[in-house]
Amino acid sequence: MLEVTDHSTLSQMLLQEVKTLADRFQQTFGRIPSFMEVCGSHTMALARTGVKKALEGYVRLISGPGCPVCVTDQVTIDAMISLTDGVNRIICTFGDMVRVLGSYGTLMQAKTEGKDVRVVYSPVDAVRIAEQHPHQEVIFLGIGFETTIPILAAAVKEAEEKQVRNFSMWMSTKLVEPILRQLLHDGEVALDGFLLPGHVSMVMGRKHFEFLATEYNIPAVISGFEALDMLSALRHLLLLSLEQRAVVLNDYKSVVTEQGNVQAKYWMNHYFTLCDEAWRGIGVIFDSGMDFKSEYNQFNAKVKFPIPTREPRRTKCRCGEVIRGLIDPPQCALFGRACTPLNPIGPCMVSSEGSCAAYYQYMREE
């Protein structure tokens, strides 16, 4: 693994190259280039490897809406926490979710109050728990993007094959294409290109993102998560924008193919269908997520355990603007004061991939 901080020649030289090209961009267009990294893992990797800091003043890197925890809206989080109220229930979830603050507490607090909340590594583990506890209802909180949706499908497939009847899933998934269209449509943030998520692309394929070039005339490069990968992708983005060429390049060919993972797409479309989803700070976007097809309602926790939705409590958290790239985390009045990773107010500070957490850990001036 080569990191900028290792002073490895290769990444240093690539960094130099990116800076030279960024200078040229500035001379040509009279401003610094702005690129959005869509994916939360990129946000974290750019901060951790020092690439973001090294490029300050050369390239503006905007964190996009690519962390599944950060984009989950308050009503959904409240509903997920309310699910723990029922008797004989085991709520299973991915790690980051337990600390997200709802209007009336967190899953962690529910757990300390004696509710059975468990963190699992994989949704398939939740199916196993259901098998071991046949007299309890096991509910998995299914959040995630296209990378995770097939994995949710794999768990449903296992439950279906093993006829596990006490397993269900509360879906709150998100798709990348609709949110990118929405951002470009709103046009609130001026962008010269996208650094596309390597893992979503591994499922969906390069072709899936071609609409960015053909319909919106904006270049985009699919990138891996090492310093070298990201610098290489930024270099390509700069070359493309200097030439004013809108194409979608795959710079992560070792993992991402043209068509993506056909099997994964097959299984996600087998159990799930498009649905409208509410995005934190953005609102409901038509067909921007996936939920169970009605023939699989026996696995749909929203059908099995309907929860009355409540109006969420308002906070001063500006995550909605952070994930749209409108402000940087320090522009939120709570950042680093009321809101820290140990005491997070909004999901962007909770999630290990959130912009506020990345900024807090790696970008603050001491």
Partner: protein
């Protein structure tokens, strides 16, 4: 929550495989990469192998970067 890690496939049994992730071993599902073979590297995300890493491409990008750096250091790359 969604960081994929590369793992080496050690053993395959119908729909799952034993893999090595940086020294620790675990079982992962392989329904999304049915063509996987022992010795392949895969990207694992939340208990499922999601993609087989193409070593040739991985090597090629390294080569490409090296060439770029070499070209720059002898001044022949005119960027």
């Amino acid at each position: 929550m969604c960081v994929g890690v590369p793992a080496k496939v050690l053993h395959i049994e119908s729909f799952s495989a034993l893999v090595d992730v940086m020294g620790s071993q675990m079982n992962v599902g392989i329904i999304f990469v049915p063509e996987v073979k022992i010795g392949d590297y895969v990207i694992v995300h939340a208990g499922q192998a999601m993609s087989i890493i193409d070593e040739q491409y991985a090597q090629e990008s390294l080569e490409e970067w090296r060439k770029l750096v070499d070209a720059r250091s002898d001044g022949s790359l005119n960027t």
